[in-house]
């Protein structure tokens, strides 16, 4: 019976992937850009989930890694023509280093809970102001990536191209991230992370190297997030420290995962869908009211409702409803 359920989930998942892969044939650029938003939100949410949901470390300054990845890829491209896929490694290295610093300081000095969250905010804000004054990356005036000339073919290597190209890139990244997270959860480290998340002391007593495992979560999460940052840089073609390192962005990338279900595999994806649908729905309904404000209020209310009614997130509830429970993910 369990094998059948597993099959059912796998079938649904593959079906979904197939539909998404074929979407550009039917959807126009507008629809595609909405899907890109959903996928990017899901991707970033999954990256955050590794640190918070799997290892239980509350990071409220994840925009730091988005920004570092974005600027690394972007600045190297602008100044040296470095292809983004190479620049991505630089971004991941820098982000991982930042994560290592935060993690080491936090874990060694036993900064926990709320204090840890504040530490992460402080680092993100510090970096934001730093980049605001750093000429090489354009400081507060921003960094601009040269767009490809009109009607040139898609260049995957340099990430200059059509919306469709970007769509497939982010689809690949998100699918890859999902598969990666699933693999992590099924291996020893996944079990160790969950043990640490549930009860750090008990995990310690079972011989688990808590510091090392927490650090691995931070490093993976930071690196994954930075790749998402790089995508953002090349998709938007412009970067401002104010926006890419902001607390606003840190909060935004967490929301989907919280709504969907922290610690679950599908939570971030479901959350991304819900949030984007909500946002787009509001855009359609009330384009003439101060749109940004309304969307944020809606997100705030959504968050509050979830925390009050379903703090575990929507996915566990939906999963039960659809009777899709396999091994509890």
């Amino acid at each position: 019976m369990s094998a059948l359920l597993q099959d059912r989930r796998a079938v649904l998942l593959l079906g979904l992937l197939a539909i998404l892969a074929l979407a550009p044939l039917a959807a126009g650029d507008y629809m595609l850009s909405i899907l890109i938003t959903v996928l990017l939100q899901a991707y970033l949410g999954m990256s955050w989930n590794v640190m918070m949901g799997f290892a239980g470390q509350f990071s409220l300054g994840h925009a730091l890694y988005v920004g570092l990845g974005a600027y690394a890829g972007g600045a190297l491209f602008v100044h040296y023509g470095t292809p983004p896929w190479i620049g991505a490694f630089a971004g991941m290295a820098v982000s991982a280093a930042a994560g290592a610093v935060i993690g080491t300081l936090g874990f060694r000095f036993k900064v926990m809970g709320v204090y840890f969250a504040l530490l992460t905010i402080a680092f993100a804000e510090f970096t934001r102001v730093l980049f605001d004054h750093w000429g090489w990356v354009g400081a507060s005036s921003g960094l601009f990536l040269p767009p490809a000339p009109n009607n040139s073919p898609d260049n995957l290597w340099l990430l200059r191209g059509s919306t469709t190209m970007f769509y497939y890139v982010i689809l690949g990244m998100t699918a890859g991230a999902f598969w990666f997270c699933r693999a992590l959860l099924m291996r020893r480290i996944g079990y160790y992370w969950q043990a640490i998340r549930e009860d750090q002391d008990a995990a310690d007593a079972l011989g688990i190297d808590v510091f090392r495992n927490k650090m691995i979560a931070v490093l993976i999460s930071a690196s994954m997030t930075s790749l998402g940052g790089m995508f953002l840089a090349f998709f938007n073609n412009n970067l401002y420290p104010e926006s890419i390192f902001s607390m606003h962005r840190s909060i935004e990338l967490m929301l989907g995962t919280i709504i969907g279900g922290i610690g679950t595999l599908f939570g971030p994806i479901l959350g991304a869908v819900v949030l984007t649908a909500l946002g787009e729905g509001l855009t359609i309904l009330g384009a003439h009211i101060g749109i940004d404000g309304v969307k944020q209020i809606a997100y705030g209310i959504c968050l509050m409702l979830i925390l009050v009614l379903k703090p575990g997130g929507l996915w566990p509830w939906l999963r039960k409803l659809l009777r899709l429970e396999g091994d509890g993910r």
């Binding site: 160790y192 043990a195 008990a202 995990a203 007593a205 079972l206």
Partner: protein
């Protein structure tokens, strides 16, 4: 494993002159005892005697102020919990700490993953075997938080056993159990000790269990050892009778 070793194997645990001060308060003072290989030793004494502190010093949850802890010939004094576990100690917590978000089976797997290169399937199999031993096999797929207290206590033991310890430390594992449950746990532990030669050190208030389980008893009072011997010797020792022995939780 030694086959024709010229030297006898060292005792499983030697505690020498162990002491712990908390800001001027001497909680444990000059405590010394030995736990022979394959024996079950009980640490008893009235409330506040320093049993839990001693226990935590041995388990690595607290660093000692002075003294030595030697596990199977290896000095483990002052090592942290994780290192001591890796050296071969498994411990339970008095206030049980199940991993609430995981199933019973997964709870045990966490400890089992220390071995076999972290192979998840082998850990699952090992976990099943341990759960069967602890009579929790049928609850394997249930969320740990749905377990009743007696089951949780057995899960606690299962988790510690998963790390394949040489020495099992049990912290008041009988507390809160009805006599029937208590006897069940005693039977499991005795069986384990007999079949596998697992050395056990336990803190206990429930005298029924102490008498049934232990080969040897160490009595603490005011942070110091006041007596030791077989259960029979200790329960008739004048010094022990003098201080509060510990209620028989019937």
């Amino acid at each position: 494993m030694n086959t024709a070793a010229p030297m006898p194997l060292p005792p499983m645990l030697v505690v020498e002159n162990l002491g712990k001060s908390f800001r001027g308060l001497r909680a444990v003072n000059a405590v010394a005892f030995t736990v022979p290989r394959g024996d079950i030793v009980a640490l008893i004494g009235p409330n506040g005697a320093g049993k839990t502190t001693t226990f935590n010093l041995i388990a690595g949850a607290l660093p000692p102020s002075d003294g030595k802890v030697v596990l199977d010939g290896e000095d483990v004094t002052g090592l942290g919990q994780a290192a001591i576990c890796r050296a071969g100690v498994g411990r339970t917590f008095q206030i049980v700490k199940p991993f609430a978000g995981l199933t019973v089976e997964e709870n045990v797997m966490v400890g089992a993953l220390r071995h076999d290169n972290g192979d998840v399937e082998k850990a699952r199999a090992a976990s099943r075997a341990i759960l069967d031993l602890l009579e929790l096999g049928d609850r394997a797929k249930d969320p740990a938080q749905t377990l009743t207290l007696p089951d949780r206590k057995r899960l606690e033991v299962a988790k510690a056993l998963a790390t394949r310890p040489k020495l099992l430390l049990l912290d008041e594992v009988m507390a809160g159990l009805r006599p029937v449950e208590c006897d069940r746990m005693v039977a499991i532990l005795t069986g384990l000790n007999r079949e596998t030669g697992l050395t056990i050190l336990l803190i206990e208030h429930v005298m029924r269990a102490v008498m049934a389980l232990s080969h040897h008893v160490v009595v603490l009072h005011h942070g110091e050892k006041i007596a030791e011997g077989t259960p029979a010797e200790v329960t008739s020792h004048p010094k022990v009778l003098e201080c509060y022995l510990g209620e028989d939780h019937e």
